[in-house]
């Protein structure tokens, strides 16, 4: 995994983004080191997805300096795209192709060499081997999600961006994903994931950082600041309540 050439996995300063006159993010600063996992909490419509979309070159920031895996997503989007793996709300897989065909297609889009072996690796990593040659349409939601994760790790990106990956995953798959992320961090990669699930986020965040996205910015939380786990949970839960906006 090549992480050379950049000190930070993600570095964001003074990020601003609004849709028309609807401000979503403002004065957002964020730093993530290699080998770190950031779990991001936040209520609905608070800008979690928007933040991930900006980091993954899918949306253009209004202001601020960004460095994702060492590159500027606005100026050199393709360099960033090569180095990130994204799991979004949608699977980005075609229903009428098999898992394997989908992965081969993405492998070719990324210009990978040795595609068949990589595809096999990715498929076995998400334990989907027995279903790899079925059409995506015939798979359950959880399995589609797993295939989507396989797609994201296919080109072995140092940085993973996961938007509510727990949605639709069963217990077993969640454990699989947790193991995968841990492995990712241990081998020097980094990951940002958003979640609604306090228990899950707390468990996953144990090894990394926990942040809360609210009020247009990310506030990194240190569990040590709070008296006990219960209080911390309370704080995190309250951050998930959607506020009434005018």
């Amino acid at each position: 995994m090549s992480v050379a050439g950049s000190d930070f996995a993600v570095r964001v300063e003074g990020l601003e983004k609004s849709f028309g006159h609807w401000p979503v993010l403002w004065d957002l600063d964020l730093t993530l080191d290699w080998g770190q996992l950031l779990v991001l909490f936040g209520a609905n419509a608070v800008g979690k997805t928007t933040l991930l979309r900006i980091l993954s070159t899918q949306a253009r920031p209004d202001a601020g300096t960004l460095s994702v895996a060492g590159y500027d997503p606005v100026r050199t989007p393709n360099a960033v795209r090569r180095r990130i793996g994204v799991v979004g709300h949608q699977t980005c897989l075609y229903d009428d192709l098999t898992c394997r065909e989908n992965l081969v297609y993405y492998g070719r889009l990324f210009g990978l060499t040795d595609i068949p072996r990589r595809v096999d690796e990715a498929i076995s990593r998400v334990s989907l081997g027995h279903r790899a040659d079925q059409r995506v349409r015939t798979l359950s939601n959880g399995m589609q999600k797993r295939a989507s994760i396989a797609r994201a790790i296919l080109h072995r990106p140092p940085l993973l961006l996961l938007d509510e990956p727990e949605a639709g995953l069963d217990q077993e798959s969640t454990v699989m994903l947790q193991g995968l992320l841990k492995e990712w961090a241990e081998s020097g990669g980094a990951a940002i994931m958003t979640t609604h699930n306090v228990d899950l986020g707390l468990a996953w965040g144990e090894t990394g950082k926990i942040g809360v996205l609210a009020d247009g910015k990310v506030q990194v939380q240190e569990p040590g600041r709070y008296a006990n786990v219960a209080e911390f949970r309370q704080v995190l839960s309250s951050s998930l309540v959607t506020r009434q906006r005018n």
Partner: protein
């Protein structure tokens, strides 16, 4: 507490106009000046059209529509050229000022081209005996109208204003590039489908001196009217943006601090 909010609002406000009232007032002065000048010239133009310009020996009084119709049509063309240029500059620089110009000019352009069509139709009736003929310039004008109505629709139906600005800029560029091709294709098409109706215009023979002078004056009058309308529309858009800026600053404040 309220005071800090207010300074923040002033800040949000002043991002649009560096000294809060200066440019706004100046642009309003400019618009007042334009509308007065335009009004006076329009009255003069009307009197020239009715009393100075000679009655056309063949067409009669209806020919006087011409002094309105042609400048309006030409201004709409100018408007779409402005949209074209502003759209390119906007896509390259992403400066909202150019998007405002493009939007204002497109809207005024649609008003002008609508009028060009209406006056054209009114003129065609007594002269050609029909309201409409698929004559090249009429047809091109109609296509132009359709393209720029689509432009305004894209802007209105976009998911958010930023997207609307980009999409409509794309339509503004593609649409304008298309116009010459439409024009030539329609001319060639027309030339092999002679219509039973009389073709274009009788006055291809050179305009008489006075007529030309009145027409020129009419052009200048409509140019001023056009600039005024665009300035007025841009001012509206600026107010919209300022209001939006204030609202968004208030929303930021309203987010309770975690």
């Amino acid at each position: 507490m309220a005071e800090t909010r207010q300074t923040e609002l002033a800040h949000a406000d002043s991002r649009e106009s560096v000294t809060p009232l200066g440019p706004v007032r100046r642009s309003r002065d400019l618009r007042v000046y334009l509308v007065v000048l335009g009004g006076v010239m329009m009255l003069a133009d009307l009197s020239f059209i009715f009393w100075v310009a000679p009655t056309d020996s063949i067409l009669g009084d209806i020919q006087r529509v011409f002094y309105f119709h042609v400048p309006i049509a030409v201004m709409s063309f100018l408007a779409f050229f402005v949209v074209f240029v502003a759209s390119i500059v906007y896509l390259v620089t992403r400066s909202p000022a150019w998007d405002r110009l493009a939007q204002a000019s497109a809207e005024v352009g649609v008003v002008f081209v609508t009028l060009a069509l209406i006056t054209g139709v009114i003129w065609a009736r007594p002269i050609w005996g029909v309201w409409w003929t698929w004559e090249p310039r009429l047809t091109t004008t109609l296509i132009l109208w359709l393209i720029y109505v689509a432009y305004l629709m894209v802007r209105a139906y976009a998911a958010n204003p930023n997207q609307g600005a980009r999409y409509s800029a794309v339509v503004g560029i593609v649409g304008f590039v298309d116009v010459p091709i439409v024009y030539y294709s329609v001319i060639w098409w027309r030339s092999i489908h002679p219509s039973p109706v009389v073709g274009p215009l009788a006055q291809a023979n050179a305009l008489e001196g006075t007529m030309a002078a009145v027409l020129l004056f009419s052009f200048i009058t409509f140019l001023i009217l056009f600039v005024f309308l665009v300035a007025q529309r841009m001012a509206l858009r600026e107010t919209e943006d300022r209001l939006g800026g204030i609202k968004s600053a208030m929303r930021r404040r309203a987010e309770s601090v975690f």
